[in-house]
Subunit: 338 residues, 2 copies
């Protein structure tokens, strides 16, 4: 099993290189048979060569790797994160990573958000009508194929049911965005009928956000099209207590390929100050290990992360006075094999 | 000045008829010269006749009225609120009410949200490609004309500047939805250059929602395209402490026509129990009076509403033990002319 590591920009390399020793230790002690290679894709390469995702990268990843561990992308020198978009959206589409999963560990329990990750308003279809030297009309299309919605909903419901889940909420806006909205509602109803153990409800995205902020534990597992998923998973991160804690997995159920990343950005303002919080990067490795079937290793890492997070070795954003490295020492010390 | 009153469904008629005596009193005592007519549009009429917005309604409103005061629309007997959509979206488009304003009175201060109300994903343009007896592909288009974006941004910035505002944030998603996103960014930059007193920033909608939930006072005035505005104004209502408090104004700057409504829905579950909270309906009248230029009346009503809200005559949702009617007595008693 080979993992492609993309440290990326800003604090990305810092949290990735801080977290990797935990993977090394587990790999060695438990004989997981993992290996990894590091790729320097990111803002520097983009600025030097104009390339975000090098030619052949997708083929290489597809044939030689099972997963990507990504740090963070984003650099003030690159407007609108053009390189990050090329890399992230390129990987999502190119590797058909159509399921994005973000477990939101909230103060009162877990809410799992599943976001469709490849279509909807992200298809990049649209254009502009010029008028008087400028843009007169601009259009972006929201496109969903039944195939993708079906694959997505089926995979998520199967997984939720297998984990003993009971309640699933579909987020949509069929009252204002009817064509894609109704396709989602229809597929959701059909697929639910194969799972008598699951209760499905659907909510308009505005109403959902309202209730999610006020009473998040009203939800257990949430399914959302791409853009709504983007928005509500960041609300989830806010409710968790900050981006410092959140990790996400983007996977292709058919090939098993997965892209794992912390939800936080590259935080250029604190890069190099040893204050970057590696919690989310370690949590990302928990998701990665779990996805690769290394349940015990994932559970051990998660336990030591949780324990370390209750000490004052946490980084300042979590109220502690530790550095990136000091927090990682606290995590590693608590691994059972340390 | 004539106002068209549309009580609507569920608790709509209850809160509208509870709030109107406050308007009557101010109108009479201050000689505001207002009159109103009540229209029975809503679920009952839709179920009886299949009509949401009667033919000729738009022309009539345009020529004979200056404003609409609407209660709430929504009834469990009408799937997906088809009648409400016909009425609400019909009024917004038909009367070109392209500016939706929601003042969010949060615990630590005010955040004004301005939502474009007529275009974007709400244009209703799209369709489906049939495949094997079902829908194979579904498309909804997000369309913005420069004219509408310009009119909207210009009106909002002028208004914010006139009220002494300093900071404006544009919410968009130009990194994933580029064509309309860039049009908004471009127009925003251009219009800002006419207001040296305003500082403009723009944020991706996901990042905005994250920060809005965690530190809402980071924002002062927020501009958003239609769907993002729909979502973030409901987050604003959640941060205010509930839909029971929020009111909104939809206006056409050119004609001055305005549609004023509480943000809450028709709450069929509590209709008829005298527990409906009329706070938002009264706040709606405050916005309406203000819009019509009756500043003193608006301020007086707002003051007595605020005072009444600090008594235990509030309805149960606000922690009090008053009925709809008892709360209104508390409001009316506190009006200076009572
Ligand atoms: C009913 C619905 C179409 C409407 C909207 O999305 O605009 C509602 O949520 C609102 O905000 O008034
Ligand atoms: C960078 C951006 C295009 C991306 C998205 O919207 O998907 C980001 O917000 C994310 O969630 O990974």
């Amino acid at each position: 099993m080979r993992i492609a590591v993309i440290p990326g920009d800003g604090i990305g390399p810092e949290v990735v290189h801080a977290a990797l020793p935990a993977l090394d230790l587990l790999n060695h002690e438990l004989g997981l048979g993992l290996s990894y290679d590091v790729f320097g894709w990111g803002a520097d390469e983009w600025l030097a060569t104009g390339v975000g995702l090098p030619e052949g990268a997708l083929d290489m990843l597809r044939s030689e790797y099972t997963a990507v561990f990504l740090g963070a992308l984003g650099d003030p020198r690159v407007p609108d994160m053009a390189h990050g978009r090329e890399i992230l959206l390129g990987l999502r589409r190119g590797l058909d990573l159509y399921v994005n999963h973000r477990p939101n560990q909230l103060p009162d329990g877990l809410v799992d958000i599943y976001r469709e990750n490849t279509q909807g308003l992200y298809v990049g279809v649209g254009g502009t009508v010029p008028q008087g030297g400028g843009v007169g009309v601009a259009v972006d299309q929201c496109v969903y194929t039944r195939q993708t919605v079906e694959n997505f909903v089926r995979y998520c419901l199967d997984r939720i049911a297998a984990q003993g889940g009971r309640k699933v909420t579909l987020v949509h806006k069929a009252n204002a965005v009817p064509h894609t909205g109704r396709l989602w509602q229809e597929v959701f109803r059909e697929e639910l009928s194969r799972h008598p153990g699951l209760t499905g409800t659907d909510e308009y995205v505005d109403a959902f956000c309202y209730h999610f902020v006020r009473t998040p534990m009203r939800y257990e597992a949430v399914l959302a099209p791409n853009l709504f998923g983007d928005i509500i998973s960041d609300i989830g991160a806010a409710l968790m207590g900050g981006l410092g804690l959140a990790a996400s997995a983007s996977i292709c159920p058919e090939t098993g390929f997965g892209l794992f990343e912390p939800v936080h950005g590259s935080a250029p303002d604190i890069a190099g100050t040893h204050r970057a919080n590696p919690y989310a990067a370690v949590m990302t490795l928990v998701l990665l290990l779990d996805h690769l079937g290394h349940r015990a290793a994932a559970a051990a890492l998660r336990d030591s992360l949780d324990q370390a997070a209750r000490t004052d070795a946490t980084t300042p954003d979590l109220g502690g006075n530790g550095s990136t490295e000091e927090f990682m020492v606290a995590v590693l010390d608590r691994l059972p094999m340390a």
